[in-house]
Amino acid sequence: GVLEGPGTECAIRFILIQNRAGKTRLAKWYMQFDDDEKQKLIEEVHAVVTVRDAKHTNFVEFRNFKIIYRRYAGLYFCICVDVNDNNLAYLEAIHNFVEVLNEYFHNVCELDLVFNFYKVYTVVDEMFLAGEIRETSQTKVLKQLLMLQSLE
């Protein structure tokens, strides 16, 4: 039989939000990379993702990992995970995250992510932590964000 279980490394290696021109709107790293390596990864991800069209899958092999990505208007939301991780679960985790952003920023657009970059990190940490999915309930996440907002 096939005996290998899931890997022991963290599931998510990084999350990237990039626009079509390759500008990074969010980079969240769950593994140690040095700055040059990060830059290289950002460029490589942009190169592999932007050449694909709607007839392609939402998954791309990437080095020893894979990228699960989804395009929303001009933004690519990309999650890099282990090759044996569950593709569809991460694809929907992206969508769940986008729906939360959309609710939080009232019809989110690229500029919201630019001007509120420090808040986007909070949203990410509520939903993903240590490379794992932390919370999936939109209601719970938004309630918590609303509470934090009231502390400002």
Partner: protein, 939 residues
């Protein structure tokens, strides 16, 4: 819901971001940034104390500048100051800055840890959350040292808020991943398992990830998680789509949690408790049933979430590989997806079916989809989907469909994307060899490969066809005839000229009787290609010519004329010139007898692992080549021709050890006279049945297989046509546990099935192995499992031997393999700084403590693979420790019952020479010696 205006709260930041966005050029941007940096620096240095708001704003601006890609070398202290603010927004920016710009200044680390400590103790859930997120994001060793004791307490405390528990669980997970040695198991572990029962599904979601990781390393301690996970899963999958409220996503109840629970269950074999097992089977059936129900929504989110759970359930079914009914249902479900309109689903179905193809229960069911898969190869628009189709065809290939699959792959090759051609060529070459019943078909296939995709046919492929033709005299005449015909084409690929030249040089005489392929015709044909070829091919052709001189005396003068021409004798290439001169001289001075001896037909090649298979493994990376490929290789030994590999009989196990009686061998059925010696092509096991000793010598390939397990714990250890032995093992400190799976591949019962563990004398006192006997009857198609508990008492060198004896039909079978329990399994990785490393390195400078080995690379020298092997070996891989970045250094501790031995290692590759130097330093000579031996085999 909160409305967030652009940059609210920090007007200055919003203005600055707008300014940057309005910059027309990179230069303007840099100018604006420098102006801002100067401003911030002066504010930070100014006499006037900044208020919290300004500090927050400036730190946030610095962060923004850093994220734009500029270096920031100040502001850390101000960020740290923000941590002690009582205002959430200030604290948050402080923590964010620190998480993004991790700094190794020890004074800062002390201050940061202090602030975190205060926040953890604050009992304010918001502050506790921020502090835990910071630890989880940074995850440094210093933080692990400071908080690995505290975080578990927060996690299991009765009064901790749910959201804090979620953060604490994942924070602990991060610390465990980076510094497992600092997270001791304790009272908290059993309470963590019970978080699977928590009312808050968010807590369960976070805790399941933690438990999964802990269970992978400490399966015994987290065994109770299996039944809890099954009952949680069962409650989720049977709930109505609205029961779970917040956790229902597009009518699918808790999809992410379900996926995580199913992954947790993949850390374990099928549950032993029949009630739990039954409940799990029900869950899996329910998930499969739901896939057949009409969708509750047309939204893709609904089907994705539902199918995420379905695919994970199928992974678990494949992992267990024990319920034929579920496996076949899974296969049918995937079969439906193969024709789904969504590309994602077709892709995932192809991928998942690939693993199903390797289960004996579902292999046949997978094969029924061959036409759909072939169609995918022809029609899919996304190259990665076509790639999966190729993978699946390869995985489902067996003797019954090999001709069809190879033909389809060949025809696909004509139009295949350049990116996957080489891999398809390798796969076709392997399948053609593996399933060649008829070697004429094999030769045709390889020549077709060269014709269609000559540029992608690597040396390994054409070397291999020559090895096979030389080793099989029944195909030599056909091969000569076929290459001769193929060479008639006006433009043929240089690889064909190589194969043609080599084969005609050896076997051209077999077709020389036909006037259409007389010696002179053969020579003229080859020589017509000569001038179009590269130097190495020309060199090969010159050798063919001198072979012709021996085979066909009638063309000797023609060939001598060619060799004598200026273009040969005075060739600018030294190799060609030398060959021409020497061959000409040889043909002139040597007698016919000497010529015949020197230029004799090549002797058969020793049988070895297909170089093509090795190449494919390299291409796909060691982790992605399934064991099936290895096992198929074993099965195909008899087809490869050439002498059967002789059993390796060097091990001490080939003579009965004095302790044999203690191990119950005396009770084993005495070997009967044995079946008549098998004629060629018989089962491998027959080789042993005549053996006079009670214990069979080690099975062929056993040593290689053993070496493959040094850096990994799971996989197939042995396989022949009757029996498959799989292993799954885990080690923690000086203890280990190995699950041995014996699979009966036939449809006939094995009787008196008796596996025995044999430890040479010296090993017995060093390695303590405990196991229970297995049921002596193994039904056809069944798999039995044996658990071996392992305790490392002191360091050891030899490996135990697993001897299996049973009766199959009328014959007595006796197989021995080395069990891959090696010293490095008891490694715990140790992270350390460069300074620490070299300090310890110097402390171990006594000559007995160091063992060094310089050796030639046996595998391609790939950095990533090397890293993975060192990590798989068990030591920590220390980055940025060795001043030469090309070197690898590692550190770890070998745990034995009596002592712990610190180990340092350093591997220095020399790419140019294709050599390595491996140095081991430990406090014990025998340990250095053994680790060095084990690791040297891996590269």
């Amino acid at each position: 819901m909160p409305a967030v205006s652009k940059g609210d709260g920090m007007r200055g930041l919003a203005v600055f971001i707008s300014d940057i966005r309005n910059c027309k050029s990179k230069e303007a941007e840099i100018k604006r940034i420098n102006k801002e940096l100067a401003n911030i620096r002066s504010k930070f240095k100014g006499d006037k104390a900044l208020d919290g708001y300004s500090k927050k704003k400036y730190v946030c601006k610095l962060l923004f500048i850093f994220l734009l890609g500029h270096d920031i070398d100040f502001g850390h202290m101000e960020a740290v100051n923000l941590l002690s603010s009582n205002r959430y927004t200030e604290k948050q920016i402080g923590y964010l800055f620190i998480s993004v710009l991790v700094n190794s200044n020890s004074e800062l680390i002390r201050l940061i840890n202090n602030a975190i400590k205060n926040d953890l103790a604050s009992r304010n859930p918001t502050f506790m959350g921020l502090a835990l997120h910071c630890i989880a994001n940074v995850g440094s060793r210093e933080m692990a040292e400071a908080f690995a004791g505290e975080v578990p307490k927060i996690l299991v405390a009765g009064d901790t808020m749910d959201s804090v528990k979620q953060s604490a669980a994942l924070c602990l997970l991060r610390l465990y991943r980076t510094s497992p040695d600092l997270v001791p198991m304790g009272d908290w572990t059993s309470r963590v398992v019970h978080l699977l029962n928590d009312q808050h599904l968010g807590v369960v979601t976070a805790a399941t990830s933690l438990i999964t990781t802990l269970a992978q390393k400490n399966p015994e301690e987290f065994k109770t998680s299996v039944s809890l996970a099954v009952s949680r899963l069962s409650r989720i999958v049977t709930s109505a789509s609205t029961d779970l409220q917040d956790y229902t996503y597009y009518f699918v109840p808790a999809p992410w949690l379900s996926v995580k629970l199913l992954r947790l269950l993949q850390c374990y074999p099928p549950p032993e408790d029949p009630a739990v097992r039954g409940r799990l089977t029900e869950c899996l059936e329910t998930i499969l049933n739901k896939a057949q129900e009409p969708p509750k929504s047309k939204k893709v989110q609904h089907s994705n979430a539902k199918n995420a759970v379905l695919f994970e359930a199928i992974s678990l079914i494949i992992h267990h590989d024990s319920e034929p009914n579920l496996l076949v249902r899974a296969c049918n479900q995937l079969g439906q997806f193969l024709q789904h309109r969504e590309t994602n689903l077709r892709y995932l179905a192809l991928e998942s079916m690939c693993t199903l193809a390797s289960s004996e229960f579902s292999h046949e069911a997978v094969k029924t989809h061959i036409d759909t898969v072939i169609n995918a190869l022809k029609t899919e628009r996304d190259v990665s989907v076509r790639q999966r189709a190729v993978d699946l065809l390869y995985a489902m290939c067996d003797r019954s469909n090999a001709q069809q699959i190879v033909a389809e792959m060949l025809s696909y090759l004509e139009t295949a994307d350049y990116s996957i051609r080489e891999e398809i060529v390798l796969k076709v070459a392997i399948l053609a060899e593996k399933y060649a019943v008829d070697y004429a078909w094999y030769v045709d296939t390889i020549l077709n490969l060269i014709r269609i995709a000559g540029d992608y046919v690597s040396e390994e492929v054409w070397y291999r066809v020559i090895q096979i033709v030389i080793n099989r005299d029944d195909v030599q005449g056909y091969a000569a005839k076929t290459v001769f015909e193929a060479l008639q084409a006006p433009a043929c690929h240089e690889n064909l000229v190589k194969v043609g030249g080599y084969i005609l040089g050896e076997f051209g005489n077999l077709i020389a009787g036909d006037p259409r392929s007389s010696p002179l015709v053969q020579f003229n044909l080859l020589h017509s290609k000569f001038h179009l070829c590269s130097v190495p091919t020309r060199a090969l052709l010159l050798s063919t010519y001198i072979k012709f001189v021996n085979l066909f005396p009638e063309v000797k003068t023609t060939i001598q004329d060619v060799l004598r021409s200026d273009s040969q004798l005075k060739n600018a290439d030294v190799e060609l010139q030398q060959r021409a001169v020497e061959y000409l001289r040889l043909s002139t001075v040597a007698s016919t007898d000497i010529l015949a001896t020197v230029l004799e037909e090549m002797p058969p090649f020793p049988e070895r692992e297909s170089s093509i298979l090795a190449k494919l493994k390299k291409k796909k990376g060691p982790s992605t080549v399934t064991d099936l490929e290895d096992t198929k290789r074993e099965r195909s030994v008899d087809v490869n021709g050439g002498p059967e590999p002789a059993p390796a009989s060097t091990s001490a196990a080939s003579t009965p050890s004095p302790s044999a009686d203690l191990l119950g061998l005396g009770a084993a059925p005495a070997a009967p006279a044995g079946p008549p010696p098998s004629s060629g092509g018989g089962l491998l096991v027959d080789v042993f049945s005549d053996s006079a000793s009670a214990v069979a010598p080690l099975a062929p390939g056993s040593e290689d297989n053993f070496a493959r397990f040094v850096c990994k714990n799971n996989g197939v250890l042995f396989e022949n046509q009757l029996l498959q032995i799989g292993l799954k093992s885990e080690f923690r400190q000086n203890l280990g546990r190995m699950f041995i799976f014996y699979g009966n591949k036939t449809s006939t019962q094995f009787l008196n099935f008796t596996p025995t563990l044999i430890c040479p004398d010296d090993l017995q006192s060093r390695l303590n192995l405990q196991t229970k006997p297995v049921d002596p009857t193994v039904d056809g198609g069944a798999q039995v499992q044996q658990v071996v508990n392992i305790e490392c008492v002191s360091d050891f060198t030899e490996a135990p031997v697993l001897n299996i004896q049973f009766r199959y039909g009328g014959t007595f079978q006796n197989v021995s393999v080395q069990l891959p329990i090696t010293l490095n399994k008891f490694f715990q990785p140790t992270e350390m700084s460069s300074q620490d490393f070299f300090q310890r390195w110097k402390q171990l400078s006594n000559p007995q403590q160091e063992v060094q080995n310089i050796f030639k690379a046996k595998h391609p020298m790939d950095t990533e693979i090397t890293k993975a092997k060192i990590i798989g070996f068990g030591s920590a891989l220390l980055e940025e420790v060795d001043p030469n970045p090309a070197n690898f250094v590692g550190a770890g501790i070998i745990h034995t019952k009596t002592t712990q031995i610190g180990c340092l290692l350093r591997l220095e590759p020399n790419l140019q020479a294709q050599m390595y130097r491996l140095t081991l330093r430990t406090s014990k000579e025998t340990v250095s010696q053994r680790l060095c031996e084990l690791l040297s085999q891996q590269f």
